[in-house]
Every structure is written in structure tokens, then in C-alpha cells.
């Protein structure tokens, strides 16, 4: 009997652990505190690899694909190895691991050679690693499995089954975080496979994990929790929870990969639209973002925002997209599709470092192991205006909405050159119409007196068959000029502007829609000096079928002459109102404005 009991006990110890159950203890403050205390984490952001050197492991395309291990501190390639990588790469102490073909393959981190391989039964869900172990989730039939392997040998250390869906795991410091049924985050002892505790999201799904060397974040597309003792509440308001303002134009942006999306367990385009942040430990209130701000990587752009959602800075990567990015604590590191590596100061957007992988193959994805990296080699000046201009001028139609965001941010920057750049959008035949509409509104709303000279310069372009020119955005420019009317403007500049507008008023080919804006602008800024020109214009066309019969023109010219009309304007208006050749609608407008004779 004793032998039988012993045998049962041994079998029980060797079999799968039952870590994931629908009913189990959850949101237990004591258990959470104990679990957190079990973690062996560095005191400051530090790479996980045993050398402690910042590294990036890049996957480049080709047949086969190639892993490039790169030492960020030294600026040199450590090794390259061909590999049929099908997942993201995860970094351990002296190894890296990924799904290659249908096997989990760990490679020696110093040389790139395969160290061990294990088959994945059923469907691969996800893989991760800490310094010593590899953790794999997979599904066989209606059972999901979490398994641990020794990073050094590939020896299976333990397995745990689940009767509900597991997400891709994350790990650091000897514990594994496993999303369970989109509702729980189970914290498992990496050494034994025992469940330490689990958290239930009471008012938020748990589908996203981001694990750094020091901090674990969990949450969803809605926002992220910083894992700490307050997580036991399960509630946003009582935990260290953060939600950043993601501009509507960057709608695809997420806080991290979806642990339940099998596609996102490999490198995908989803990696190119990410919120990038770090946070400070707090004991109360919402998540405290470092420097009260965050950044968003959106394809080739990285945009820095304050907590209030106001854009602080912008970075536009030259020519190609940033494929992967990571907030390392001190910099935002990114890898571009051509192998460029860039480190950006998250406070200012200044480029702190640039390197190159020297690869000829396009980059498919990358995993940074670079927490704490602080490059100081490049001290490039911050050029937010330049970056925003680059975004606005980007020809890529995928980014039309981002261009609107950039134009909006650009319009808030001071300086006449900003007005010039906005006007350049209007002159660009290939700029999307929606963007042009946005820019027009921005120009009007900008109300920058120094813009008047720039706007006037824009009026210099006329219809010219020989020079093959047409007025550039005449209507919008005139509208923007009218928008400056209530500001204090330089009288000499106003005179020049008025003269330039009058040339378009008198020009044969000014489109009716533009003419209306020209008239309105003259009336807005002219201070009365424009009235003889407007009166002459009215007389010239009041008997004309085309222009004289144009309702918008009628309204504009009558409005222009009846804003504080003097005796002379009244005489002209009355003459036109009495003239039998005048269009009835024009006569009505005049009589409504100045009254009957």
C-alpha cells in the first residue's frame, strides 16, 4: 500500500500541472505580493543577455531568411545565421530562441549556431524566454499547453495544461506571464511551473503583454496596467493603469502585440504602429509615464506626445519604414527596413545614435535586448518642423491621415516658413484633396500676422500661357488672408497684399470660386482702400450674364461694398440697383443691404 501511494505521488509530480482553471484564487493581494517578490529583476534597465551588452536580433528576408545579431554598443555584427524563422526571436541569457520551421530552436547567442531543437506538437501559440529558460505555449485539440525548457539543453522542465485558450507568454526574472481566456493573467513560477497567482481584469480584457527587463505591462487595445501590488484590484481606477491619447489619424496603433493573434507572434506590419513608453513606479494614481509623455511609432515616423496628447516632436526616418521599435528606458530604438538603426531621445526627438546593419536584404523584424542603452554618439539637432514637413509631403497614400495630423501639428509651430510649407501643400498637385482642405482650414485658423507676406508672395503666380503657370491655391490663400483681418498688420504689407489681390480681381481668368475669396479678402483687410477697385469691378460686370449672374459673386461683391459703406459706395450701389440691365438677384441683394432709394 505504501508503495502504491509513493507511485501515485511520483506520477502526480511527473505529470502535467493544472495551472489554468476557470475557478481558482485570483486578484489575491498577498499572493501577488509574494509572486512579485519572487522575480529576480535588475535595479535599472539592463539587457537580459549574460554579457549585459545592448543587442538587437534582426531577421532579414531571403530564402532562407537570415538572423543578424548586432552589438549596439560596439556597432558591429556579432554573427549571421540562415534560419527558417517563423516567429519572433526571444532573448535569453546566453541563447536566443524562435520557432524555426515547426521546431523551437535555441541558438547560441555568442555564435548563432543551433544549440537544441524541440518539436512543437499541435499548433504553435507562442514562445518566450528569460535568462535561463524557454517557455512555449501550444494547442493540441481542446487542450492548451505551457511548457518550459532549459535554455542550456532544451530539456523539458515541466508542462502545464489548460482547458481554455492560452495566449503567447511573456517572461522575466524567473516568472512567466500567461494570458488565459482573455480575462486572466496567470503568473507562473518559471522554475517549477506552479501557479503563483493570477489576475482577473474586472473592467478590461487582458490580451496584450509587454515585458521589459524590469516591468511587466498587461492590458488591451484600451490601455495598459503596470504590474505591481495594486494590480490585485483588477480595476483600472485602483491599479496602475495608463491610457494615452492616440490621435484618430493613427488609429491602428496599439500598445503591443495581441497575445491571442497567431499572426502577431511573428514579425508583422502591426509592429510598425506602436505606443512606446516607459513608466515610473507609483503607489497611487494612474500610471506615471516617464517625462510625462509617450511616443508613437507609425511606420516611418515616430511622434512624441505629452500626456495631454499634444505633439512634442516628430521624427521621420529617411526613405524607408522603421520595421521595429522599442523603448529601452532611455531611448527609442528602431530598425529600418534597409538595416538602419536609430536611437531617438524620447523627450526631445533628437537622434542620439545611428548605426547600420550593413545588410542588403530587407529587414522583416527585430527584437531588441537593449534595455538601458544610452548611445551618445550622434547629436543631431531636433528638427520637428522638418520632420512634420517631410510627413506632410510624403507621397505614400497609406499615410494620408497621418499627413493631416502632421499638417495640424505643423500649423501650431511658429514662423513664416511654416506658412510657406503649408502653402506648398496647396500648390502640390499630388497632395490629397482632404489634406488640402485641412491645410486651408489650418491656414485660416493659424492667424499668424507674419504669414501675410508669405501669403502675398503666393499671389504673385498668375495665369500665364507662356510660363505655363496658374495661380496657386488662390481661393484658399485669399481666405487665409481674410482670416488675418482682425490682427494688427503692417500697413505697408497690407497695401502690397491689396495690390496683389486686386491683380487677381482684375484678371480675366480668375475662377469664380477664387474671385469670391479675393473680394472677401480685399474687403476684410482693405480698410476702405479697396472700395474703388470693388466698385469698378461691380460696374464692369453688373450687366454681364456670366459673372453678373453668378449668385456667389453677387453676394461677395455686395458684401464687400456694403461693409460700412460710404456715400460713394452707396451712390454706385444705387446706380446698379436702378440699372435695368442689372440681374434681379443682384438688385435685391443691394436693396437688402442698403435699403431702397
Amino acid at each position: 500500500m505504501r508503495a502504491l501511494l509513493l507511485c501515485v505521488a511520483v506520477l502526480a509530480a511527473c505529470g502535467p500541472k493544472h495551472a489554468f482553471r476557470l475557478s481558482a484564487d485570483e486578484n489575491n493581494a498577498y499572493a501577488l505580493r509574494e509572486a512579485l517578490a519572487k522575480r529576480q529583476l535588475p535595479v535599472s534597465p539592463t539587457p537580459i543577455n549574460a554579457s549585459g551588452q545592448p543587442r538587437v536580433f534582426v531577421l532579414t528576408s531571403g530564402s532562407p531568411k537570415t538572423i543578424v545579431a548586432y552589438d549596439l554598443a560596439a556597432g558591429s555584427v556579432l554573427w549571421k545565421a540562415d534560419a527558417d524563422v517563423q516567429s519572433r526571436i526571444f532573448v535569453g541569457g546566453d541563447f536566443i530562441v524562435a520557432l524555426e520551421g515547426k521546431q523551437i530552436v535555441a541558438r547560441d547567442q555568442g555564435r548563432g549556431s543551433p544549440r537544441w531543437k524541440v518539436d512543437v506538437e499541435g499548433t504553435f501559440i507562442g514562445v518566450t524566454a528569460d535568462a535561463e529558460r524557454v517557455y512555449v505555449t501550444n494547442r493540441e485539440g481542446n487542450t492548451w499547453w505551457l511548457s518550459a525548457y532549459a535554455g542550456s539543453s532544451g530539456k523539458e522542465l515541466w508542462t502545464a495544461d489548460a482547458s481554455g485558450q492560452l495566449g503567447a507568454p511573456g517572461a522575466h526574472g524567473g516568472v512567466v506571464y500567461v494570458p488565459f481566456l482573455a480575462q486572466w493573467l496567470t503568473i507562473v513560477d518559471g522554475r517549477t511551473g506552479n501557479t503563483l497567482t493570477r489576475l482577473r481584469g474586472i473592467d478590461e480584457q487582458i490580451s496584450t503583454l509587454r515585458v521589459t527587463s524590469q516591468v511587466a505591462y498587461y492590458g488591451s487595445k484600451q490601455g495598459m496596467f503596470r504590474l505591481d501590488e495594486r494590480s490585485a484590484s483588477g480595476k483600472r481606477t485602483e491599479a496602475t493603469y495608463g491610457q494615452v491619447k492616440i490621435p484618430a489619424q493613427l488609429e491602428r496603433t496599439t500598445y503591443g502585440r495581441d497575445a491571442y493573434d497567431p499572426i502577431q507572434q511573428a514579425y508583422t506590419a502591426a509592429d510598425r504602429s506602436r505606443v512606446l513608453w516607459s513608466s515610473e513606479a507609483t503607489t497611487e494614481g494612474p500610471m506615471k509615464l516617464t517625462d510625462d509623455g509617450y511616443a508613437i511609432h507609425y511606420f516611418r515616423y515616430v511622434l512624441g506626445f505629452g500626456n495631454d496628447g499634444v505633439l512634442r516632436w516628430a521624427y521621420s526616418h529617411p526613405r524607408v519604414e522603421l520595421i521595429a521599435s522599442e523603448h529601452t528606458g532611455y531611448v527609442i530604438a528602431g530598425v529600418a527596413s534597409n538595416g538602419d538603426i536609430v536611437a531617438i531621445d524620447p523627450r526631445t526627438g533628437a537622434v542620439r545614435g545611428r548605426k547600420s546593419l550593413g545588410t542588403t536584404q530587407p529587414v522583416l523584424g527585430a527584437t531588441f535586448d537593449a534595455d538601458g542603452w544610452q548611445p551618445t554618439s550622434a547629436g543631431e539637432p531636433v528638427d520637428t518642423v522638418g520632420a512634420l514637413v517631410t510627413i506632410v509631403r510624403d507621397r505614400d497614400a497609406r499615410f494620408d491621415r497621418v499627413k493631416e495630423l502632421a499638417a495640424t501639428a505643423l500649423a501650431k509651430q511658429p514662423g513664416a516658413n511654416v506658412t510657406s510649407e503649408l502653402l506648398a501643400v496647396l500648390s502640390d498637385n499630388r497632395a490629397p484633396l482632404k489634406l488640402k482642405d485641412t491645410v486651408v482650414d489650418l491656414l485660416v485658423a493659424r492667424r499668424d500676422p507674419s504669414s501675410l507676406a508669405v501669403l502675398t508672395e503666393q499671389l504673385a503666380v498668375k495665369t500665364d500661357y507662356i510660363a505655363k503657370t496658374e495661380p496657386d491655391a488662390l481661393g484658399p490663400v485669399a481666405k487665409a488672408i481674410a482670416g488675418l483681418a482682425t490682427l494688427t498688420l503692417d500697413p505697408k504689407q497690407v497695401a502690397l497684399t491689396l495690390a496683389a489681390l486686386q491683380e487677381h480681381l482684375d484678371a480675366a481668368n480668375t475662377a469664380s470660386s477664387d474671385l469670391v475669396q479675393v473680394i472677401a479678402a480685399m474687403a476684410a483687410i482693405g480698410g476702405g482702400a479697396e472700395r474703388p477697385a470693388l466698385a469698378s469691378h461691380l460696374l464692369l460686370y453688373h450687366a454681364d450674364d456670366d459673372r453678373g449672374g453668378d449668385a456667389s459673386w453677387q453676394k461677395a461683391i455686395v458684401a464687400g461694398l456694403t461693409t460700412k459703406p460710404g456715400p460713394q459706395e452707396r451712390v454706385v450701389l444705387r446706380y446698379v440697383a436702378r440699372d435695368p440691365r442689372s440681374k434681379p438677384a443682384l438688385v435685391t441683394l443691394i436693396q437688402d443691404a442698403i435699403g431702397p432709394d
Binding site: Y465, D544, V572
Partner: protein, 275 residues
């Protein structure tokens, strides 16, 4: 400001209710009463009336009227604004007796939205040698409407406007025949050589029109320059070159003998197979 005068005219007429002299100076007291009978009041009324056909006829009749006040009536009507169908005959009538104040009115209509009105105004401006009028004609060469450019080129040639040469050379390069003819009217020896040098840069047919028109000008010379033009035409392979030279030969008397005619004859014979 140019618009000041028009405003004044408008105000004066609107206030008084009848046309006033508009010959460049404000009306003096009693001036309108001196020659009122010379212009039938019904013509004045018709010109400013809503019946466009009657107004157009009135404009033509006013143009034919020898009385100076008829001109003033036209000028005032233009100042107050006319329908395009009336403005064109009014401009054509006005220019029958050009007077310095007309330029201002014509320049205003040279920028009118209606191309027919612009054509009439630009054509009329050729009769006014002042720099402002010439500038308006040169501006017409840049008009997007071809017929307006044609009118401007013709006016530039007729008005001998040197400032029009450069833009007309550019239009020549685009094959505009009106500029070819306009340049031919303006050409002196230097300009004719410059035009001849455009071979290969200008459509052959257009270049032939320009050079052929220069050759036909009785006032153009000396004959040595004509020889150069004949040879320049001879280099053009287009069959129209032979026609141009033949036209020149036909329009030039055999005697006294001219080298340019002989040269043209030789080229034509060679091109036609040694007849």
C-alpha cells in the same frame, strides 16, 4: 489708382442721371449742355438699355457719329459697364477716333472675363502708343485663350511693340502662326536673323510663315538680309518652304534684278527637280 476715375465717372453719372464728358477730365459746368443735340438722346438711352441688339446698334451709330460727344458717350458707357455683346461694338466704335483717355477704358476691358471683349480691347489698344496700352497688349500674349493671343500678336505687330518680341518668340516656338506674323511685322535685320536661327527649334511650317512674311515686306531690307532669309527658308525641308519662295518670286518684279530673288529661284528650281 486707375479705378478712381471709373468710380468718379460712375458716381457722376449716377448722381446726375445722364452721361457726362469723359475725355479725361471731370466735366466742367455747362460742358454737357454745349453739344447735347449732336448725339441723339435715344442713342444714349439705347446704349445703356436692356435691349442688347439695340444697344449694339447704338454703339455702332455712335462710332459713326462725327461729333466728339458721341465718343464721350461711348467712353462713359464703357466706364459704367456694358454687356459683352454691347462692349465689343462699343470698343470697336470707340477706336474709330482714338483719344488718349480711351486707353484706360480699353485696358480695363482687356482683362474682362469674356474673351471676345478682351480680343476687341487688345486689338483696339494697338492704336494707342502709350506704354500702359502696350503693356496690356504684351500681357495678352500670355492669355490662355488662343484667339486672345492671336489678337495680341497682331496688335503687337501693328503697334510695333518691341517688348512683345521675346514672348512672341516663345509662342513661335510653340507653333503659333499669329506670333509668326506679328514677328514678321516687327522684324528688322537682327530680328530676322534671330528668327532664321530658330530652325529646328520652331515647327517648320511656323518658321516658314514668319520668314515668308518678312520677305514679302516691301519695307524690309537691304537685299543682302533678304538673301539670308531666302537661304534660311531653303534649308527647311517642308514643302511649304518652296511655296513661300515661289510666292516671293511671284510677288517680286524681275527688274531690277535682285540677288534674293535669283537665289530664291535657284533654290526653287533645285527643289522642284531642276526646271
Amino acid at each position: 489708382m486707375t479705378h478712381g476715375r471709373w468710380l468718379w465717372v460712375g458716381l457722376a453719372i449716377a448722381t446726375v442721371g445722364s452721361p457726362t464728358p469723359a475725355t479725361g477730365q471731370p466735366a466742367k459746368k455747362g460742358a454737357a449742355a454745349k453739344k447735347p443735340a449732336a448725339v441723339p438722346p435715344e442713342l444714349v438711352a439705347a446704349l445703356g438699355g436692356a435691349d442688347l441688339e439695340a444697344a449694339a446698334r447704338a454703339a455702332e451709330q455712335l462710332g459713326a457719329n462725327p461729333n466728339a460727344s458721341a465718343h464721350d458717350v461711348l467712353l462713359d458707357a464703357l466706364a459704367l459697364g456694358l454687356h459683352p455683346a454691347v462692349a465689343v461694338p462699343a470698343i470697336n466704335a470707340l477706336v474709330l477716333k482714338p483719344a488718349p483717355p480711351d486707353g484706360l477704358a480699353l485696358r480695363r476691358y482687356a482683362g474682362h472675363a469674356n474673351p471676345s471683349v478682351r480680343i476687341a480691347a487688345i486689338t483696339a489698344l494697338a492704336s494707342y502708343p502709350d506704354p500702359s496700352s502696350q503693356k496690356a497688349i504684351v500681357a495678352g500674349l500670355r492669355d490662355p485663350v488662343g484667339n486672345v493671343r492671336n489678337a495680341a500678336a497682331a496688335a503687337a505687330g501693328r503697334g510695333n511693340i518691341k517688348a512683345a518680341i521675346e514672348p512672341m518668340l516663345q509662342l513661335l516656338a510653340r507653333g503659333e502662326e499669329s506670333s509668326a506674323r506679328g514677328l514678321a511685322q516687327l522684324a528688322d535685320a537682327d530680328l530676322s536673323r534671330k528668327i532664321a536661327e530658330q530652325l529646328g527649334k520652331v515647327p517648320d511650317a511656323t518658321l516658314i510663315i514668319a520668314l515668308g512674311a518678312i520677305l514679302k515686306r516691301a519695307d524690309f531690307g537691304p537685299d543682302a538680309v533678304k538673301v539670308e532669309i531666302v537661304r534660311a527658308i531653303g534649308k527647311i525641308q517642308d514643302p511649304a518652304a518652296v511655296n513661300a519662295l515661289t510666292d516671293y518670286i511671284d510677288s517680286t518684279p524681275k527688274t531690277p534684278p535682285r540677288t534674293s530673288r535669283q537665289e530664291a529661284t535657284l533654290i526653287v528650281e533645285a527643289r522642284l527637280g531642276g526646271k
